[in-house]
Amino acid sequence: MSIAARGQLAEGGATRTPSPPRALVPALGAVGFLAVALLVGLFVGPVHIGIGAIIRSAASHIPLLGIHSNLSATDSAILWQLRAPRVVLGLLVGGMLALAGGSYQGVFRNPLVDPYLLGVAAGAGLGATIAIAYAGNAVGSYDLLPLTAFGGASLAVAITYVLGTSAAGGRSPAALVLAGVTVVSFLTAIQTFIQQQHSQSLQEVYSWILGRLDTAGWHDVALVAPYVVVSSAVILAHRRMLDVLAVGDEEATTLGVNVRRVRLTIVVFATIGTAAAVAVSGLIGFVGIIVPHAVRLVIGSSYRIVLPLSLLAGGGFLVLADVIARTIVSPAELPIGVVTAFFGAPFFAIVLRTSRTFT
């Protein structure tokens, strides 16, 4: 139904305006995709545990249903202490990267932007390199790395923002992007220098950069979840504002929007969420660009739909990518960043070719 027709219905008074029909089917599709991805993530592994048993076991955790799991203690531990945290981490990291990427593309009005644009990756990389090079295998370095990566990422984006907004061109998204390029180059130079000085740490740094969802149980999940939840909530609350920003800064202003505040808020929360994701999973590329794009190509350009669906689809995508990463060269593991790029790029090419609505 067109907006005009809905308006007339609404004026009639009796009918409440229905939610846009276009959003319902894609939303169900995304939820279905995510559910399948989660099940596959729990199902696939060296030890066979049936889908039925997984669902029974999951249901047994819900009180009042009275369902009892028929899994052995070992299988139960494999399922809930090894596979589940990894799947949930994939869900959080993938969803966050896709959501952050989509919202970055909105505030910068640039479809090629990814969440690492303003220096998150370079800052986190430097932080991680410092932790690996100087703390080495010292006690506690496992907890230190996420902290230094998160700190480095946040600091890098803060520098970018200060530099970008104080530049001569000031306040335009382009100045911010250029400041990002500057900060990234500088931090990468420092990181390379440190690596040269500590060449024994090269391999560890390299494997961190390629990204992994290798977890120590629920610890990493608990570490990253609060940041992802809060960032996602704030970004999703602004999703309509991103549609308004699409008409340009000046027009958005004449529509009553505080453009600078909206942009800053979204950049800050997308950055915090991305930094937290990167801190536990390393630099997983491609998710932040490919997922929002694919969603956009399928359902249209409105951020009100693109952002929530990117969150769901990004989570599902990374969980599936991780399944491939840990099975394809089993018992060894492929870095997940290799998988996201290897399978993501052709997938994107197909969507690009078959879609009629590419902008």
Binding site: A4, R16, T17, V244, G256, S301
Partner: protein
């Protein structure tokens, strides 16, 4: 309808004085055309009224100073159509028009049935229904102009600011666009403030012309008094004939003969 009072309005951009002590009073419901050569300050004046640039002096809308109003309050009082609006290519026409409701929504609220109704009305009044579900990039220049007007109309503001609304339209579309503004103005009691290059169209559609030159207001009055050979030649450096045909003023450029 909105009464606008400009008092000693000055705007500096960088080191350049773009507007210099402009004072004018615009009555509720008037259609004012801002005319003047390139760089005279027409767009800057519109942008100052819209609260987009800092100014000295005073701009009041029904007695309220623009610079002291909140962004949203300004947006509820005026709709601004820039010269080259940014149209997100994949956005649908109805989605775009609905954005005009933004000033009436709470920060994180969704549109109410009333907002859909207002957007629906704007779509209907501008005859956008045949392509209301199409992406903006598929529209012709004339259709795009109507869609942008539709968004401004959905805003339901009593003051309409237009910056060169007929640029890039052919002569027929120019006329249609301005007729549309005239009709909407009549139906919704709008005050219209419009920067225009085409002096003939300005003279035919506006109640009064304000002639800006080098940031100063050099003449103001009914079209017959402002669109004159003397004033046009002085401020535009153009050779023109002004003819009156059936009560309508036409400004005709005349080629300078060297012989």
């Amino acid at each position: 309808m909105t009464a606008i009072v400009l008092d000693g309005l000055s705007v500096e951009l960088g080191n350049a004085t773009v507007l210099d002590g402009v004072s004018a009073e615009i009555s509720p419901g008037e259609w004012i055309a801002l005319i003047g050569p390139n760089g005279a300050g027409k767009s800057t004046l519109l942008r100052a009224v819209a609260g987009l640039v800092r100014y000295r002096g005073s701009i009041t809308l029904d007695g309220e100073e623009v610079s002291s109003l909140a962004r949203r309050a300004v947006a509820q009082r005026l709709a601004f159509v820039p010269q080259a609006p940014l149209l997100p290519p994949a956005m649908r026409v109805d989605e775009y028009v609905l954005l005009g409701r933004t000033p009436h929504l709470g920060a994180f609220a969704n549109e109410s049935p009333h907002d859909f109704a207002a957007a629906g009305q704007a779509i209907e009044r501008l005859d956008l229904e045949p392509f209301s579900r199409r992406p903006l990039r598929t529209l012709s220049g004339g259709e795009q102009q109507r869609v942008v007007l539709g968004r401004a109309l959905a805003q339901e503001a009593p003051l309409l600011l237009l910056d060169e609304p007929t640029t890039s339209l052919d002569i027929g579309r120019q006329q249609q666009a301005l007729e549309l503004v005239a009709t909407l103005r009549g139906q919704s009691d709008l005050t219209v403030l419009c920067a225009m290059h085409d002096l003939t169209l300005a003279a035919q559609y506006a109640d009064r012309l304000l002639l800006l030159s080098h940031g100063r207001l050099v003449a103001a009055g009914p079209p017959g008094e402002i669109a004159t050979e003397a004033l046009v030649s002085e401020h535009y450096g153009a050779d023109v004939r002004v003819v009156t045909e059936g009560g309508a003023v036409a400004v005709i450029p005349v080629r300078r003969r060297s012989s």
